[in-house]
Subunit: 379 residues, 2 copies
């Protein structure tokens, strides 16, 4: 998996721990990366953003996006990089007019709230998202094979939440009103979103992404029944369209539904390699449900420490890291003669994005603890 095709523009991968764990192969330590690891908690990120002038100025500039993606890797021995971008690039390319007001979240100038607006939606021309694919290639080159690069997208449902609400929401009233009152419109929008997400992720894979992640950040706000119909089904529609291999390597697919722990048995049937979990889920129970046996099918699990643990002292962070690693249970060990045999594996991560208020030195304590303790647990 680590040797690119002859003629690949990219360097050979030096640390494949993350990709191996995604494929449920044994590793020497539990790999770790952090959602939103390139972000406001880092002073060097804030400096680059100040140069860029705005969030979208940062995200749309290849050099800046490359710079900030690599910043956390300079500080911490993380096992993966993730493209610096926003989950709302697709609706922006659809013409909804994305902006970020200072101190507020994202906002769309043209939210999708009636039948006419829904009927106008199309899968956007991927050329409008060229800046993302250019960033992927630039980052991949800049990484020089240090660690793999993860591409990502919001899920069809999560994009629909922002597209209808026009901004963040605490009750999802507008998007759910459309869902309950006009399910036909919602299904139409979700089908378009799914095809757009699939094209977007495939283009990221073509550009050099070595794994892809679908963020269903708002799947967990749905009622049982509605989640399966309006979120899970369209995540499945994306997965069915994704490239499985590129440049000689398998491309693992990660699905993360925040607040989706109750639907883990159904998510276990998704055609993907990894399921991301938030901190409400017990990793040991999740492993028993969907992690599979050695040599059998199953999902790798990614997560799931509470990002607020990073506000405690280093010793407490270490203790919580140990607790999360131990909750997963005994690591999958390589079988002599068959190091690529599959079994339950764990990719350490937060259960949600890192807080902008996090002290950077505490991130070092967490990453080091994951590596040290997970090696101990294998000894």
């Amino acid at each position: 998996m680590t040797a690119p095709d002859a003629g690949s523009p990219f360097a050979a991968l030096q640390n494949d721990t993350f990709l191996r764990a995604c494929m449920r192969q044994a590793t020497d330590h539990t790999p770790v990366w952090l959602m939103r690891q390139a972000g406001r908690y880092l002073p060097e990120y804030r400096a680059t953003r100040a140069k860029a002038g705005s969030f979208m100025g940062l995200a749309t500039n290849t050099d800046y996006a490359t710079e900030v993606t690599l910043q956390p890797l300079e500080r911490y021995p993380l096992d993966a990089a993730i493209l610096f971008s926003d989950i709302l690039t697709i609706p922006d390319a659809m013409g909804l007019g994305l902006s970020f007001a200072i101190g507020e979240g994202p906002k769309f100038a043209h939210p999708v709230r009636d039948e006419a607006a829904v009927q106008q939606l199309r899968v956007p021309d991927m050329d409008k998202l060229r800046y993302v694919f250019d960033a992927v290639t630039s980052i991949r080159k800049a990484l020089h094979g240090r660690v793999p690069l993860i591409g990502f997208s919001g899920s069809p449902w999560t994009l629909a939440c922002y597209m209808v609400e026009g901004a963040g929401s605490d009750d999802y009233r507008l998007v759910k009103t459309m869902m309950y009152a006009r399910p036909d419109l919602m299904h139409h929008m979700l089908a378009i979103n799914a095809d757009a997400v699939a094209a977007y992720l495939n283009a990221q894979i073509d550009a050099g992404a070595q794994a892809v992640m679908i963020f269903d950040s708002w799947g967990g706000v749905l009622a049982d029944g509605a989640f399966q119909q309006f979120s899970l089904a369209y995540t499945a529609r994306v997965l069915a369209q994704l490239r499985r291999r590129h440049d000689g390597a398998v491309i693992p697919r990660i699905v993360f539904t925040k607040g989706g722990g109750l639907w883990l048995p159904e998510m276990g049937r998704l055609d993907c390699e990894v399921l991301g979990l938030d901190w409400t889920v017990n990793l040991g129970q999740a492993r028993r449900m969907v992690g599979g046996a050695v040599g059998g099918p199953g999902k790798a699990l990614q997560g799931n420490i509470d990002p607020n643990v990073l506000f405690a002292q280093p010793e407490q962070i270490q203790a919580e890291v140990r607790r999360v690693l131990e909750s997963f249970g005994p690591p999958h060990q390589a079988v002599a003669g068959d190091p690529d045999q599959t079994g339950p594996t764990h990719v350490f991560n937060l259960g949600h994005g890192i807080s902008q208020h996090t002290p950077p030195e505490n991130v070092a304590a967490l990453v080091d603890a994951v590596h040290a303790v997970s090696r101990q647990l294998r000894a």
Copy 2:
């Protein structure tokens, strides 16, 4: 259960459907009430609030609190009334200085953020909450036995969230920082909160509340492990101190943890009669986990329709009501000769408080559908 003691100041109960369902006894229809049923979506509520001048002006005035509690019962054939009050009355009585700015949520002038502030906390003198108990007695009298009256409190953890954050929060960073960094302080605060909640609910029972509900509105933001230690254990500490009977009647105890579906097996071991569920939970699965068999122990279940269903059309509301009733499964039917035999029962409710934007006529469609469809399902 419906006949008060000789000498009771209150009228005999005419509709005991809610209390019977709480005690897992068969009923002719599924009882229904709605969290925050007395509230801003009703124009008559807004008129009373305008007279009162402020939210706390409304909550602390016995006549106004009585008036607004009864308003939804004048419109809809609800099977229970719930005290009109706020979940933050206890911290206010502790001296934290509660206020409600217009267009914003609750705010404390003196949040509890350090060791000195935690050490100063005491179970408040219940005399400072006399206005609540007076309202309970006044409402109970004004009800004339039409339906039972539910008293309530925030859970120890949910109170702690507001006490530390000082207001609502979207990341619970301050309260979780204290929890992870100074668990000793958090446990101290939670023990005081639990004893205060127990005293508060017992005083409501003494004043006339015929059931009590603990709102663990923010239990679901905790990590697995932390929930059990910092929320569930203190809810249990409250329950252990509550009066079981008053004025000749059993007092059912309801516990609602928003976002707590993953911990249902553990909540099933709480010493309470009813568990409230949000819309992410499948009622049939919950019934199999904690609903118990006919004649055996178990919990009644309360919930769990998405309040946003109320923004659809009446026919769609009816269809969603039927879906929720059917997800619970066949209703518990009275056994000839033993109408009080216990079995799995369902109290219909929303999965969270009703939205202020709800069209009042849609609430009528929901309540009527619960009664009509649940009678059909028993026929």
